[in-house]
């Protein structure tokens, strides 16, 4: 298959950046999107040109490192998948493909398609954990958890922190990410002691990072490779209202 690529090139935060055109010829339909980028980059290197930078690590959809906007969709148009698990057979032969970094004030571009998602780390550091004594692991099933709660907690915990929710949101809001981390703990007994403090601190960290305000478009839910749902956001809203009512 042949493609025409329009790839965002930007040397760093200070640079204005612009799209550059590349031809991707003779690409197997079974190539993953990132492998296609590798092939184009290798050809650039062979010609003595500078390859473009993009983020990736596990390439099996579990680490959350990869991701850019592909033809206007975060992680491409397939849905429920990361960019590394997305294949060129999803495109038409000869198609023009626009490749842009995830854009948000809180995600500054480092280079080309690579953005700094450190704002997510700040949100997690603000309360995305439970405080326990470390030591030997507790006995399995020592704390009973209702099945429904366990499953809904696992659904929220599936978040890999890729930032597609922010990228796809018309408001560049981080509500789905933050609420996923909150819902994961709010649905388990271990999360209860710090529940109120957690939501206060994590929401504050989210706001201070400069993300936008949610208007319930649900684009985050549609873009999430791990299919987190809007009920996580409702859970966070509920918990923050509760936090405002106590004390």
């Amino acid at each position: 298959m042949d493609f025409k690529l329009k790839v965002w090139r930007q040397r760093g935060a200070g640079d204005k950046g612009a799209f550059a055109n590349y031809d991707a010829k003779d690409i197997s339909p079974d190539t993953s999107f990132l492998e296609m980028l590798d092939i184009v980059n290798e050809r650039l290197i062979a010609k003595g040109e500078e390859p473009f930078a993009f983020d990736h690590d596990c390439r099996e959809g579990i680490c959350g490192t990869c991701g850019c906007m592909v033809n206007g969709y975060a992680h491409g148009h397939q849905g429920g998948t990361t960019l590394c698990q997305f294949h060129m057979r999803e495109f038409q032969d000869g198609e023009t493909i626009w490749i842009e970094p995830f854009r948000a004030k809180a995600f500054p571009v480092i280079r080309d398609l690579v953005v700094d998602r450190g704002a997510f780390d700040k949100i997690v550091q603000a309360g995305g954990y439970i405080s326990v004594r470390t030591g030997s692991a507790p006995d399995g099933n020592a704390v009973p958890v209702p099945k429904d709660d366990a499953e809904r907690s696992m659904d929220a915990a599936a978040c890999i922190g890729c930032g597609a929710c922010v990228a796809a949101c018309p408001n560049a809001s981080a509500m789905l990410f933050t609420s996923g981390k909150i819902a994961q703990f709010a649905r388990l007994p271990q999360g209860q002691p710090e529940r109120i403090d957690r939501v206060r601190h994590m929401v504050a960290a989210m706001e201070q990072a400069g993300f936008g305000a949610c208007t319930n478009h649900a684009e985050c839910e549609a873009a999430c490779p791990k299919e987190l749902k809007l009920d996580c956001i409702a859970q966070m809203n509920r918990d923050l209202i509760k936090a405002a009512l106590v004390k």
Partner: protein, 220 residues
């Protein structure tokens, strides 16, 4: 947990809760308003008596108007702050951005607000204070019927009320989500409620100008 916590209103969620509560108050008013309008179909005596009753206790009337006005002001204030926050959150937009889930109602909810606001100024000058009404009098029934007999006024009303309907649809659904009433088990009900109510309000409201244009209600 080192981050400095914020006041409830300082967070975007707090502002959205203010929007949900004030929106709910105005939504309640709009629903009652629509039901009141339908009395035009019961004839001039009924509608004029109802209008008279609403104004009979000034203290009651002004408390009610004050509540609506305060709600509207808070709703607009929070909406403006949230909009500015979102605009600054993506200084550089995408060359290509496609949507899969959002609705027309959701995308127009911000601009629907100011449009409805401008319409309300006209609406009050038209039917409440009468400055822009061609033949304003104490007879509310006649004001309604002769006001809507001008075709372009009616068309303008119908378009404006369509915006109200869209705003209500996204607003009512969002209200549930914002205050945290969303659960996978009964997720569809807020949607159903939002569709049913915004359609009912739209249909009830536009039935009056349509009836006036069709000559089904006539001046007395």
């Amino acid at each position: 947990m080192a981050t400095k916590v914020m006041t409830f209103y300082g967070t975007s969620i707090g502002k959205k809760v203010v929007m949900a509560v004030t929106g709910f108050i105005v939504f309640g008013f709009v629903t009652v308003h629509m039901l009141g309008n339908l009395q035009v179909f019961s004839g001039p005596e009924k509608l004029n008596a109802y209008a008279h009753f609403l104004k009979s206790v000034p203290a009651f009337l002004w408390t009610f108007r004050g509540l609506i006005l305060i709600s509207a002001v808070l709703h607009i204030l929070a909406a403006t702050q949230l909009t500015l926050q979102s605009w600054s959150a993506r200084p550089q937009g995408y060359a290509v951005q496609r949507y899969r889930e959002t609705t027309y109602a959701a995308r127009t909810v911000r601009w629907g607000g100011p449009i409805i606001g401008l319409f309300l100024v006209y609406h009050i000058l038209h039917f409440t204070t009468g400055q822009v009404h061609p033949s304003f009098s104490d007879n509310v029934y006649n004001n309604v019927v002769t006001g809507f007999a001008v075709w372009w006024v009616s068309v303008f009303y119908i378009v404006a009320v369509a915006f109200v309907g869209l705003h209500l649809y996204h607003g009512v659904w969002s209200m549930f989500q914002t205050v945290g009433l969303n659960h996978p088990k009964w997720n569809v009900w807020p949607r159903v409620f939002a569709v049913a109510f915004s359609l009912a309000v739209f249909a009830g409201m536009v039935s009056v100008p349509i009836a006036a244009l069709a000559g089904l209600v006539r001046p007395v």
